[in-house]
Symmetry: C2
Subunit: 228 residues, 2 copies
């Protein structure tokens, strides 16, 4: 039997997670994509996640409903304006404990699937300064995962949290994904798209993405209202 | 101003978490109780959690819907019989990554509340052998919490995960809670209660609870179908 190893891949519908999914596949994993509906304003990302998962090819794609909005506290889930000028420090679009919650669900599914590998597209170079995108956070979660689970404790599995983009510049991520065949026209990164899903071109996420395409010497196939 | 420090207390409606809530209050915290509806069979616990929260007194009680059942893999959420004889090793009632997910939500709420303290009623003495009830798991989550959050990274908060019962025998927990005025008649521990909420008296959880009352030299006020 030559069955591929199963990996859970967190998939937001953005550029980074699409690239991460392509990398997991290129490394020979059978990919199980997991997305979250958490009251975020940019729900258009979920439609993008479905298209990306279908195009790149996954064994299964689950969209999990979670109620992060109940806690408030972020411009991505509560009624706080998304800023259009760069901020210093951790921005208001930070969602409390978001990646901790996402990775916890991924860990649960991974254990049930009998897998040992979780992929997350965090990036600590061209990013928005979120604390839960840093290497020390990823390592701490990996330690936790092996203490938290039956599989980890019984020693049948050693969980690994893969963050293949964590040290890459955005331009390099785009070049890598393009080489792997990712269609970035399907991905959505904007925090404040219009109803047709067009990117604002002005939020942190749009600015970082556009600068990445410029660095890669490529044109962003996404549709922008301004600035694209 | 003499406002009490805010703490999030995970509250299942069982004996241990009720005692933990009473301890948090006795230590001077303003308690924010958090419970989960996760497709578990023993939903009667949630009604108990509401009664316990109201009796002991909390600033707020939130019940969060989460979809653990979507992953399957446990007798508490899937269609696997709850065993009535003791098992060896980690039992089938283990829910993958359950406490990791619960603590992640608690962390998010705690950060939004501006608190620094989370209470969880895990116990590693008279317990069912779950990996995510052990001291090393709690410590690993505490480390993660301080890396995962804006408050932790900016140094405005040092998160502490309190597990006051972790090294206590069940009889001592019951004595402590009784001294603090906990009404154990409101709590529910059974994994497989009948429709009226009566405890089976035979599952792991019932056996551990009943032995605890015996050790404490007290009578369990809960209603049992058998064995109580």
């Amino acid at each position: 039997m030559t069955s591929a190893k199963r990996a859970v891949v967190l998939l937001s519908g953005g550029l980074d997670s699409a690239t991460t999914l392509a990398i997991a596949k290129a490394e020979g994993f059978e990919a199980y994509a997991m997305s979250f509906r958490y009251g975020q304003r940019h729900a258009v990302e979920l439609a993008a996640a479905e298209q990306v998962a279908a195009r790149i090819g996954v064994a299964e794609h689950r969209i999990v409903d979670i109620d992060l909005g109940a806690f408030g506290g972020s411009a991505l889930t509560a009624d706080i304006p998304v800023p259009t000028t760069p901020s210093t420090g951790i921005p208001v679009t930070y969602v409390p404990a978001r990646n901790t919650i996402f990775l916890s669900y991924a860990l649960a599914w991974c254990e049930v699937l009998g897998g040992a590998d979780i992929f997350i597209g965090v990036n600590a170079v061209d990013y928005s300064g979120y604390p839960d995108c840093r290497p020390q956070f990823i390592r701490a979660f990996e330690t936790l995962a092996n203490l938290a689970t039956r599989a980890g404790v019984e020693g049948t599995v050693r969980f690994t949290v893969h963050a293949p983009l964590i040290a890459m510049a955005k331009g390099d991520i785009i070049r890598r994904g393009t080489a792997l065949g990712v269609d970035y026209g399907l991905t959505r990164s904007c925090y404040a798209p219009d109803e047709a899903g067009r990117a604002c071109g002005e939020c942190d996420s749009c600015r970082i993405r556009l600068a990445g395409f410029t660095a890669a010497g490529m044109e962003d196939p996404a549709e922008y209202l301004r600035g694209g």
